[in-house]
Amino acid sequence: MLFHSIDFAIFVPVVFVLYWFVTNKSLKAQNWLIVVASYVFYGWWDYRFLSLIFFTTLLDYIVGIGLSKAEKPIHRKLLLATSMTINLGMLGFYKYFNFFIDNFITAFTFLGMPIQANTLDIILPVGISFYTFQTLSYVIDVYRRQLEPTKNLAAFIAFVTFFPQLVAGPIERATNLLPQFYKHRTFDYGKAVDGMRQILWGLFKKIVIADNCADFANKIFGNYDDLNGSTLVFGAIFFTFQIYCDFSGYSDIAIGTARLFGFDLMRNFSFPYFSRDIAEFWRRWHISLSTWFRDYVYIPLGGSKGGTWMKVRNTFIIFLLSGFWHGANWTFIAWGALNAMYFLPLLLTQNNRANLDIVAQGKNVPSFREFSSMLVTFGLTVFAWIFFRADNMGHAMGYISGIFSASLFKLPNFTTVGLVATTNMFLVLFVLLEWFGRQDEYAIEKLGLKWKRPFRHAFYYALIAAIVWFGGKEQEFIYFQF
């Protein structure tokens, strides 16, 4: 069930009414309602994998209880290892099995020892990377004694499968989300209205910006051989906005929907394209994943405390893992490696925490220095996204060669000039709204709150009209494939 489908538009009000009017007297009933709704939501996409998610949930629930009873370190380690092996094993099988088989065949063939092996026709269960990491965070936190294991099965299943964030995050921490299932929830008018506003903004980002940009990006990446360098630059920029608005739009809808049910999910994006360096970008992009890797991989490896070699090693590990998490393709690994190379100079010169504040805070216009830094960071990001978007390394290299050719200085060749102009107009409007809302949780969080109601409503209706009128060709959320 896609967030921007009519199915979801009916599903949410039905669950909302049942939640606040039928089960509101009992916390247990509310939690079980969330469980049922979440399983319906997931099963709508593919019911065959419901048993898989149930198995993961049950396994980590039992491991959690086991950890609460086990005192000996060896027993605790064994329980942790069991959970990690099974969870990562399933993720590895569904997501990476064919990748490894293919690469083994290639490697052995290259070494003059051709081998015969068959890949399998495996369907990737939607959201597996997200919920696997979420349950792993629970088990690790319990193992580290940072979290009390839960005995409340309904709360735990609801935590793992909570439908707004089940298939594409934010990857929640048990320490944040699980306790919210223990407490009685009362309806908060302000929170619900804010949730609706964030959902509207998420839909605008996804349907108007991402889907329109996707149309151009797909055509340009698909026909890069026939297009000039300047058009390819536009293609990469369109993809840059597509992926941001697609994924952050999804996150906005997820967070907004959760708020309707009285939950606070963690923030996943914080205006990353206004970053002044790559370190700042990574503090603002897919925050739930970056902090997951930081807390569960980077810091246990020693973080940035050791010598230069250790810093370099840990940085590469974290970025390569992050790339590999996205998918079984060398392009994602190259994307991760490139970001590591962008990041490393900042870390080694201890400038990786130079920009912790919000750019041009309290001002309408950035300084020249801030503007130049943002532009350079944006350019580096656009370049890296080429690898992320490409089908394979050959495609990426071909695309980049196409950019750095004499045709870079020719005028872009678009066949649908009107559509490009409309999309660019919306992009400019979007960037402006993001810029002026960058100090808030999301761009329109506070926009118009002090306006008279007719003006405020007119603004919301304008967003709805843009969604209906200018929505691009419907595309699935990019992060569903991860």
């Binding site: 009519i6 199915d7 209906v468």
Partner: protein, 304 residues
Amino acid sequence: MRKFLIKTILFTLPVLFMTIAMELLLRNIPNDYEQKKAYLDKHAAEIETLVLGSSHSYYGINPAFFTSNTFNVSHVSQTFKYDYAILKKYQPKFKSLRTIVLPLSYFTLYGNIEEGAESWRVKNYNLYYGLNVSGKLKDNLEVLGNTFKVNKKRLTNYYFAHESAITATELGWCMKREIKKTNDLVETGKAAELRHTAKEADTALVNYNIAILKSISAWCAEQNIKLVLITMPAYKTYSERLNIDQLNLTINTAQQVANENGNGIYLNFLNDPRFVEADFYDADHLSDIGAEKFSKILNDEINK
């Protein structure tokens, strides 16, 4: 909570009102599916020859040139599933039906209207034929079947420009074609071949379509109706490019099904030399002249 619900309902009311108005206005536009259903409702008992299939038969078989009472119920992208559903719905009314013409084109066994660019047509079978072929909401509402832009254009064309959306004659043949940017036979041949050649072998889909084809054949045998399976003429820029495996599967299946119940014949006109450049609208569809020529030839074959 009450305040939130009331405010939300009030805020969404204008949007809901506009959506309902648009749905009603769109449903009020006369269309081919509605027209074909009306004809079947009124004249099913008189029909002697019924033409089924997709755009190939919709553009290429004109009942006006048949000597028997013929009706063309085909439409763009119509697959066996919908052909069979129409047959079953009108079964009690087909008192005079003697022949069914069913095209088996290069892409037919791989066809699935529910997926891809033509999926918006599914709603027409639900809404106007009343076939109940899909329970999805988008297949039961006009507003969700197409994008807002398309719906707006349909409303403007009908209510303001007073343009008819009907493309079929009373007997069901397509009299009004879409004006394309190019009808160049080389270009359209390449494009159609690319569009029609299956990217990956979807065995389940092929088996599903063959099973329905066999059901149609068995249904015809039960009703003592002659089943005429045909492959329509196509221009060489299309037919010469076709994947031989996919084409052979189509031809072999047609021959096998035609022989199965003793009530069928298979006529393959794909490379028929009688059809020349002027007979084609594009590389895989007949023009008006080609449709006349083909309809007369087919009528002769049926009457043999």
